[in-house]
């Protein structure tokens, strides 16, 4: 009889095990070390362990190629390692900007960091999963941790409300996703992704039950990546959640959901490409339209960034619509640069305060140049990158996606997407104008802690470095996706 749990299984699960066990230790950190700041340090230690486990994974992938474990329900490949690193970096950034913010909100408790690690464990499983059951469990672990984190400011009505909305819409989308999964299981008699791929390939593409499976699965996934018409939760949740959680959701949760989406669409549903490419194209078009146009009228920075992140999700989807190597390369490059630029902006918002409350309006940035020229320049770099203007990293994300679209002959989508960059530039320049040209009458104080400063500088520097010297990062992103999924 073969053993149920082998050394290879343990090796595959190492990042998730590290995160879950350190997460449990974090819960006791405040009590054990008699210090309120201890939890964040223990959580950072957990991130180091995870990064080490991922480094061992990447060495193994480089030497032996992808491997499967736990009865083929989990995998290690370039794809899972790449996303694992994305989650580690965004969790580190989220932890270091949280300490000061949560202290100011009088909610700096150990559970918060534990939840961050548990959410990350879920994301790791989503990136590594190769079976409907593991993917679903990873998604639920991530989502449940996020519901609690969004509502973490217990005495603040906005936070409660955002958590409630996120939970209801998130649970609804999980239900749809699970329904789609159940039909995929019914079609193939297996929950393993490659066996489902074989079963789907042998079916007629216009088989109603296959269409039903595809539609319900897509609805669930579209909710998670917040694209039109399932984007309604994003602005409310982004505005109501504590700012570090907003940053974490907008980057890590979105990256994990894209990892899941790519696994589903590029492994089991790959033979149905001619059905889902027009679907994704239409959704991406609607998403870019609504995201960019709704962002114009927003005055709350977090809400504006929510709409901007909706439109970014539309751009990332276009990489999948292109469906060729350049497009997929664009997806991973985009996710990488999006992490740095978005985290930088949220780190600055987390540091803004007025009369003891978090300040989140565009006007609160008024006259930043006069008072903190350093932060003003950093914001300029990050906002130019979000808009996709050349010397910064954001340009390369969009560049590969547009190139992929042109190579695939999707000229219409490429032109529309390029035009929307102009609209996006308009609302990012509203923020830039507030920073450089207007003097706020009563400026908000910017009081970043050491961690926030580090996060700001790191994201600004990476945004510039990737923009000026992109080759190593692009190679890394390329290897992750192409080698894994082809």
């Amino acid at each position: 009889m073969t053993p149920l749990f082998t050394a290879a299984d343990f090796f595959t699960l190492k990042p998730a095990i590290a995160l879950c066990s350190v997460g449990c230790i974090v819960l006791f950190a405040e009590w054990a070390f008699r210090s309120r700041g201890a939890a964040a340090w223990v959580a950072l230690f957990g991130e180091l362990l995870t990064a080490y486990a991922l480094w061992v994974h990447s060495a193994d992938v480089a030497a032996n190629g992808p491997r499967f474990a736990l009865s083929n329900s989990m995998t290690i490949d370039g794809f899972s390692v790449f996303f694992g690193y994305i989650f580690v970096v965004s969790a580190i950034l989220a932890i270091i900007i949280s300490a000061r913010y949560m202290e100011d909100e009088k909610s700096n408790r150990s559970e918060f960091y534990a939840l961050m690690l548990f959410a990350q464990a879920g994301m790791t499983v989503m990136a590594q999963g190769y079976d409907l059951v593991t993917l679903f469990i990873g998604l639920e672990l991530m989502a449940l941790s996020f519901y609690v984190m969004v509502g973490f400011l217990r005495d603040e009505l906005r936070s409660n409300e955002a958590a409630m909305k996120y939970l209801i819409l998130g649970a609804l989308s999980s239900g749809f996703l699970a329904y789609g999964f159940s039909i995929l299981y019914g079609i193939s008699g297996s929950t393993n992704l490659s066996e489902i791929a074989d079963a789907v390939a042998s079916r007629d593409l216009h088989d109603p039950i296959l269409i039903l499976a595809m539609v319900t699965t897509s609805v669930g996934l579209f909710f998670k990546i917040s694209v039109v018409p399932f984007h309604m939760w994003a602005p409310d949740v982004y505005e109501g959640a504590p700012t570090p959680v907003t940053a974490y959701i907008s980057v890590a949760s979105k990256a994990a959901s894209f990892a899941l989406l790519m696994r589903i669409f590029l492994v089991p549903l790959v033979s149905a490409q001619e059905v889902w490419i027009p679907l994704l194209g239409g959704v991406a078009l609607a998403t870019m339209t609504l995201g960019n146009i709704a962002a114009i009228t927003q005055n709350n920075l977090k809400r504006l960034l929510a709409y901007s992140s909706i439109s970014h999700a539309g751009y990332i989807l276009l990489g999948l619509v292109a469906g060729n190597e350049t497009g997929l390369k664009g997806v991973s490059v985009y996710i990488l640069v999006y992490m740095f630029m978005n985290f930088g902006v949220f780190a600055l918002i987390a540091a803004m305060r007025r009369d003891g409350h978090a300040a989140e309006d565009i006007d609160d940035l008024g006259g930043l140049m006069g008072r903190h020229p350093g932060y003003a320049i950093l914001m300029l770099i990050l906002l130019l990158s979000l808009a996709g203007i050349p010397p910064t990293a954001g340009f390369y994300g969009k560049y590969f996606i547009f190139l992929g679209l042109l190579q695939a002959g999707q000229y219409f989508l490429a032109i529309v997407a390029a035009l929307y960059v102009a609209v996006a530039t308009y609302y990012y320049f509203r923020i830039i104008r507030a920073i450089f040209l207007s003097d706020g009458l009563e400026p908000a104080t910017i009081a970043p802690g050491l961690g926030t400063k580090l996060a700001l500088v790191a994201s600004g520097v990476f945004t510039l470095v990737i923009g000026l010297y992109p080759e190593p990062f692009i190679n890394m992103a390329t290897n992750s996706i192409l080698l894994a999924l082809r």
Binding site: N160, I168, L172, G186, P235
Partner: protein
Amino acid sequence: MPVTTAHYLALSMALLIIGTVGVLTRRNIIVIMMSIELILNAVNINLVAFSHHLQNVNGQVFTIFVITAAAAEAAVGLGILIALFRNKETVHADEIDILRW
């Protein structure tokens, strides 16, 4: 008339639709959560029916995980609802309107 797999699938489809309509039209958050449970139970019926039809145990294993996730979701949801109720004495979605819906 024997009950076939198709009957179970029709039942689960009906539950999915009832649940979705419930989430979208009901205003009481408790009822909305019950509707979400209906959707997840539609998934369970589907999985068990397919599992029986295919004579394959994977679907039943998946069901156990779905039930667990549904229970966890209900627990977190009620916890958040209690936190919300402490700050604002209501469980009606229409009155929860600081953030534009």
